[in-house]
C-alpha cells in the first residue's frame, strides 16, 4: 500500500471510521505481534502487548499530525510498551520436572525435565537449551533485552534499532555488548 493510501486510511480512522482503523491495524499488526512474541517468548504476554500497543494507537490517533511516518510512530509506541512490560507468566518458563522411575534401578526416582520440544504449530521453546537462553534473556534489564532481541531475534540493523528506541547507535551497541556479555556469563555452563 502506498503512503498516500495510508494517509487516507489514517484520516478516515481519525474521523472515527472503524473499518479504516481495522485496515490500518491489519497492515502493521503482524510485525508488532511477532516483535512482542520474540521479546516475551509467550503468547499470552505477546497478546497483551499487542492490545496495549493498538489501544494506545487508537487513543492517540486523534493527535497524530503526520510529523513522522505512521510506522515510526507505531514503532515508538511498541518500544515504550515493550520496555514497560513485565512478563506475567515468567514462572511458566521454568523447566517443568516430574519424577520418573530409573530404568536400571527399579524403585529409584529421578527428576526429569518434561520434554517440551517439537512444536510445529506455535514454534515455542523447542529445546531445553533454548529454554535456558530464553530465561537468561528475560533476566536482562529491559533496554538491553529489547536491543538484543531486536538485533538477534528480529534481525533489525543497529541503525534501525536506534531509530526505534530513540537512542544513538553507540548506546544501542553498548546495550547489545553488555547483554551478550551477561548472557555468555550466565550460559557458559550450557554452551
Amino acid at each position: 500500500m502506498q503512503n498516500r493510501e495510508i494517509t487516507q486510511l489514517i484520516n478516515e480512522a481519525k474521523a472515527g471510521n472503524d473499518r479504516a482503523f481495522e485496515t490500518l491495524v491489519k497492515l502493521h499488526d503482524r510485525k508488532v505481534l511477532s516483535m512482542a512474541l520474540k521479546f516475551t517468548g509467550n503468547e499470552d504476554d505477546a497478546m497483551d502487548i499487542y492490545q496495549e500497543v493498538f489501544i494506545r494507537v487508537h487513543r492517540g490517533l486523534a493527535t497524530f499530525e503526520f510529523r513522522s511516518e505512521f510506522s515510526t510512530w507505531l514503532h515508538r509506541i511498541t518500544m515504550n510498551v515493550l520496555i514497560n512490560h513485565k512478563n506475567r507468566t515468567r514462572q511458566e518458563l521454568i523447566p517443568i520436572t516430574e519424577e520418573v522411575e530409573d530404568d536400571e534401578q527399579p524403585g529409584v526416582k529421578n527428576a526429569k525435565i518434561i520434554s517440551i520440544n517439537e512444536t510445529p504449530e506455535s514454534g515455542f521453546i523447542a529445546t531445553e537449551k533454548s529454554m535456558a537462553i530464553r530465561i537468561a534473556i528475560d533476566s536482562l534489564p529491559q533496554q538491553q533485552k529489547l536491543a538484543f532481541t531486536l538485533k538477534h531475534l528480529s534481525g533489525h540493523k543497529i541503525k534501525e534499532i536506534a531509530e526505534m528506541m530513540d537512542c544513538s547507535e553507540g548506546t544501542i551497541k553498548r546495550y547489545i555488548f553488555t547483554a551478550s556479555s551477561k548472557l555468555r556469563e550466565k550460559l557458559k555452563y550450557l554452551l
Binding site: 472503524d18 512474541l37 555468555r184
Partner: protein, 312 residues
C-alpha cells in the same frame, strides 16, 4: 579471562561481527587477533554457540490463530469504546437543543401527541415487540461481517431469511426466533451460522431451551469455522454444567485442530474442575492426555502447572 581494554575492544568487535555490522579492516584485525589470543577465541566460539541456540527463538512467529484472536479482542474493544465515545456527544446535543425555547415548545407538542398515541393506539406492545425483533434482526444481519474467516460474498448473503421478512414479525415469538437460530447453525453459509450464534446470544431465554444446547454441542463438534466453535464454547459455559457439555468440551480439547479453540475448551473445563473440588476422572484422564500429546506448549504448560498445583 583478562578484562583489559584491548580485550574489551575485540569483544565488542566480536559482537559486531555476529551482528553482521563489521567489515573491512576491523574484520581482518579481529580475525588476526583471535588467531593469536585464546581468550578472545573462546569468546568468539562461545558467541557462535549462543547465536546457534538463539536460532530456535528466532524462528518463533505468531500463529494465524493468535493473530486472529488478537484482532478480534482489539476490535471488540475499539468498537465498544467508540460506542461509549458517541454517547456523551448525543447527550450534549440534546442538552443544547433543550436550551432552545422553540425546540422546547415543539418537543412538548410531540411528546403530548406521542403520549396520546401510546395510550390510545391499539396493540402498542405488539408494535414494540416487532420493533425490538427488527432491531435484533439487523444486529444478527451484520454479525460475521468483521470476521476474516468469512468471505466477502458470504457476508452479503441473507441471514435467517424469515427474520428479515416484515410479515414474520407480526407473528413472532422468542421461540420462533430460537428455532430460526437453530436452523441457521446448520446453514452452509458461515456468515449465516455466525448470525445464528449472535441470535442465540441475544435471546437470553434460549439458555433454557435444551435444543439450543444440543445444537451448540453439534456446532462445537463439527463446524469448520473456529469462530463458531469458540462462540459455541462461550455459550455452553453459560449452561448448568452437565455430562453432555463436559464430554463435548473434552472432545474439543483433545481432538480439535485449532489451538485457540482447544485453549478455550481447557479454560472452561478448568473452571468447572476447580468449582467441583478438582474431582473428575474424565477430566483427569483428558488432562493427562494433553500433558503427553498436546502440540501447543502453552496448553501443555498450563495443564501441567495446574496438575502440579493440584498435587502439591
Amino acid at each position: 579471562m583478562k578484562n583489559s581494554i584491548e580485550h574489551t575492544k575485540y569483544i565488542e568487535l566480536i559482537d559486531l561481527y555476529y551482528a553482521k555490522e563489521i567489515a573491512g579492516e576491523d574484520e581482518a584485525e579481529l580475525m588476526s587477533h583471535i588467531k593469536s589470543c585464546s581468550d578472545c577465541y573462546d569468546i568468539f566460539a562461545l558467541n557462535k554457540e549462543l547465536l546457534n541456540g538463539l536460532e530456535v527463538l528466532k524462528n518463533e512467529e505468531p500463529s494465524e490463530s493468535l493473530l486472529i484472536a488478537s484482532r478480534e479482542k482489539l476490535f471488540n474493544y475499539t468498537a465498544k469504546s467508540l460506542d461509549a465515545k458517541n454517547e456523551p456527544q448525543s447527550f450534549g446535543l440534546i442538552i443544547k437543543l433543550l436550551k432552545n425555547n422553540n425546540f422546547r415548545i415543539a418537543a412538548t407538542l410531540v411528546i403530548g401527541l406521542g403520549l396520546g398515541y401510546y395510550f390510545f393506539a391499539p396493540n402498542s406492545t405488539e408494535k414494540m415487540v416487532i420493533q425490538q425483533n427488527k432491531e435484533l434482526a439487523t444486529k444478527i444481519q451484520t454479525q460475521g461481517n468483521h470476521n476474516p474467516e468469512v468471505n466477502s460474498s458470504e457476508k452479503t448473503a441473507p441471514a435467517v431469511t424469515k427474520v428479515v421478512d416484515p410479515n414474520f414479525f407480526k407473528a413472532v415469538t422468542p421461540r420462533t426466533l430460537i428455532d430460526e437460530a437453530i436452523s441457521a447453525l446448520v446453514n452452509e453459509n458461515p456468515g449465516v451460522r455466525l448470525r445464528g450464534i449472535e441470535a442465540i446470544k441475544e435471546l437470553t431465554i434460549s439458555y433454557k431451551v435444551p435444543e439450543v444446547k444440543t445444537a451448540l454441542i453439534k456446532s462445537l463438534a463439527s463446524d469448520p469455522l473456529p469462530s463458531v466453535k469458540m462462540e459455541s464454547i462461550k455459550l455452553l459455559a453459560k449452561y448448568t454444567f452437565d455430562n453432555e457439555i463436559k464430554l463435548a468440551l473434552i472432545n474439543s480439547m483433545v481432538n480439535e485442530e485449532n489451538s485457540a479453540v482447544r485453549i478455550l475448551a481447557v479454560d472452561v473445563l478448568l473452571k468447572y474442575y476447580k468449582t467441583n473440588n478438582n474431582i473428575d476422572s474424565d477430566i483427569d484422564k483428558a488432562f493427562m492426555d494433553i500433558r503427553n500429546n498436546e502440540e501447543s506448549n502453552y496448553l501443555k504448560i498450563k495443564v501441567t502447572n495446574f496438575m502440579k498445583g493440584k498435587r502439591s
